[in-house]
Amino acid sequence: MSTSAIHTKQSVVTDEPYYEAIADEIDVFAAAYRNQLPVLLKGPTGCGKTRFIEYMAWHLKRPLVTVACHDDLTASDLVGRYLIKAGETVWIDGPLTSAVRNGSICYLDEIVEARKDTSVVIHPLCDDRRLLPIEKLGESLTARREFCLAISYNPGYQSVLKDLKQSTRQRFVALEFNYPISEVEQTILEKETGIKASVARQLIKFGSMTRNLKGNGLDEGASTRLLVNAAKLMNEDITPVVATDTAIAQALTDDEDMLQAIHELSRSVF
């Protein structure tokens, strides 16, 4: 008996998710998949990593298992555990195990947040052995050909405790993501939200202004996701300045001076 456990989302992506390729990442991922290589997605938050994985799951026609990692996520949360049902103990597969069994794509989002013991199960799965040791069952699962492991990681984190270890990162094919160039970003905004081209252009200009502030008072500039959010609000007849204030400025910082600066930047563009 195998059921999916908590914190996970296993889904077959039936409709084509909207994804705008930036370089050759689709080909690279597909090639890595064919060669059973695990993939590491690097990049700042909100630049399209998760959307890319959804797109690839659709493209490769594999079910997708997404696990959002947090700091209490242990190896057994991934592998599985015993539960008691009607006086009997029943083994429940974790998301990783079920992905290995079913040949799905397993995506561990923000892997550095997870407990260190997760590397025990990830490492043997990521080299040519492709094994998942399940200690409690006393067995080792060999991954199906179709199984693929992808993890994501934001290199912008400054905490020394949240660094991806060399022994882990050197097992992956790494794809670097960044915010798309303005033409592509404009296409994304228009297609994703149906906003007018002229407004999209203003919004992107505003976005690049906030990115200028990165390292000068802001930890990160506005991500594509935030721009999309603001555009969605604008579609609902929220005025542009209010939309950028609520969807972008407040999401980026709490600093009064900075909030005011972003507010005025927005006012100057719209």
Partner: protein, 714 residues
Amino acid sequence: MRKEPSQNFLNRIRIRKDLEKLTSGALSRHKGLEDLISTIAALESEKQSFIYEWTELIARSNNELAAHFICKSPNAFSHMELEGVMSWVEHAVTTFDNRGLGFAIEALEDVGAFASKFASRSVQCEFEATSNFLRYFVRGLGGRDLRVANDRSTYTDTESLFVPDTLEIFPVAEQNFTLYKLIAVHLWAQTWYGTWRYSVVEKLMRHMASEDVIPVFNRLECLRLDACLARDFPGLAREFDMFGHTDSETAELWETWRSRAEPLLQSEATAEDSLRLLSEFKDLPLPSLKHYQGEMYADKVRESLSARIEREKLEFQQAMQDIRNAPNAENDGENGEDAQKQLLELMMGEEGGEEDSELNFQLTMGGNATNIPDHLQDLIGSILQDFGEIPEEHLRPIDLGQYRDELQPQNATGEDGNESESNPIGAFKYHEWDCMRQRFRDDFCTLRELPVTPGDESFVEETLNKHRGLLKSIKKTFEAVLGESRLQRRQSDGDDIDLEAIIEAYTDFSNGREMSEYLYTRYRNQDRNIAVMFMVDMSGSTLGWVNDAERESLVLLCEALEMLGDRYAIFGFSGRTNKRCEVYRIKDFDQAYTLDVRKRISGIRPKAYTRMGVAIRHLGHLLHMTRARTKLLVTLSDGRPEDYGGYKGKYGIEDTRHALLEMKQSGIHAFCITIDNEAQEYLPHMYGTANYAVIDEVHKLPQKVADIYRRLTT
């Protein structure tokens, strides 16, 4: 007589007693005390506690002044709100510090005059209050990283924007604030829309009698820039219209100019067009400057422009060289000038033409687009702002002769090597990376650990007093770190049952195996196993503000770290030449935070130069020898590595980078906090993109250091 409730009576006695105690009796010498106390007792509790707080503070300096403050405070509250009263008493305390008791009492007596002045001040907008906002705002607009500073006149030298100290042109404070913004934008526009392109500045300085034409040029450019800004920033254009001028005569004159300067309003107009129109407008009456318009000083611009051009040209050529030399460069060995030019063809185009003047460029190497590193992107952007293109000259391969100054060979026996090795005992020998030879110089540096002359302990007290609010909030955030408790599973006893463990035990039990006894969960504070080494720059350049800020930061950090229980050590570093590298022991890992340590922190003084590599190696070694799961080396510095005799520029940076790489290999995380405005250029190279922080204002250092430390270790 109305009988008053006994509670009020008791209240008055309490207030009187408290205040007399706070002023050590000085209050009892004042007349009319009964009435005064009744008035104070009738005040709201917020105001009462304000009086208490300030009395206590002032009494630390002078009891008599504190007593005077109490006497005048009810009067002050009748004139002003809390904010005004605060400003009034602060003014008095500053007067006391600078001019003594007599003047301070006078300042207190003058409540009425102060209140009316304060009321008018609320219309003013001060630079102090807007500087952060302005800097962020200008940074957000894009382009070269401009400094915003205050000055008597309003202008830009293309490196900084100078704006006035205060503005009170308009009757409402918000309007004056907007005016600040518009002034900054307009100055920024001069640097962004090419008012000070190299060719323009040269023409202005060489071919025209600048005194007469500059004012005309200023007004023509104002028209052109207004049009540019209106196209790109529709929101700002509305405000520019409103804030330009207040009298109709000026408005009319500007309108005449505007209608005659039609070509300048077109999107393709450049500063060259303004130059061409100069002769035509020279004899027209000049309209007075718009409120948001600054002066123009072509000579100041030229000075900083030529310094920048030289500097950036070298940097650019060096960067090109580095890209060529990178191991993944496809060509090897082809060094012909043509081949290199072809290789480094810089493609640039005006993106979107008229609608968007943002510059877009891509670096191609052998036909493949290369990812341009951030700092190079900024550099190219800055060059484009000056020239509108990358000049031929910049693309020429580097003339190695130009770098001779920067890359002086390190002569062990040369002039600078003659420093006597006075005492070889107790000295440590370290290697140094020579980037010219691409190898180590073995045992090249001699380093000694020296004691710090203890300083005045009152410094620590003063710092704690000065930053008591900040310290409180630092402690609070650090407490939160400490309070982050973790759920520990499989404990022999605890707060709750560990369901998973029970199930497992049940399975074991059913299978006939022994049950585990570890079945509980417990919340326990996370074990912070961190050792951190603070490496403090004690070079001569830290003299003054930076040194003070460094010491203040250390005091605050120590207080906070004592609470966290992290193991930490503090060392200063400086030196002169490779023979006399010095580190100063301020606090060891195993030392407690005692009075002696405090005195040593206060005794940190600027010494000589910054030979960073060897200090990192030595302190890294000490850190390596301590037991901790996470090891962190934090450098507080004010600039790039530099030492007497060739240890500067690329050589110093490369050696430091190498020392940091050595640290990384031994499992030590390095982080740098710096106050150098140009640090963006070399810090990413030395420390890696995420491992440094640049602090733009010295007085923010104490706060930021604590903030960064917390972020680093959670």
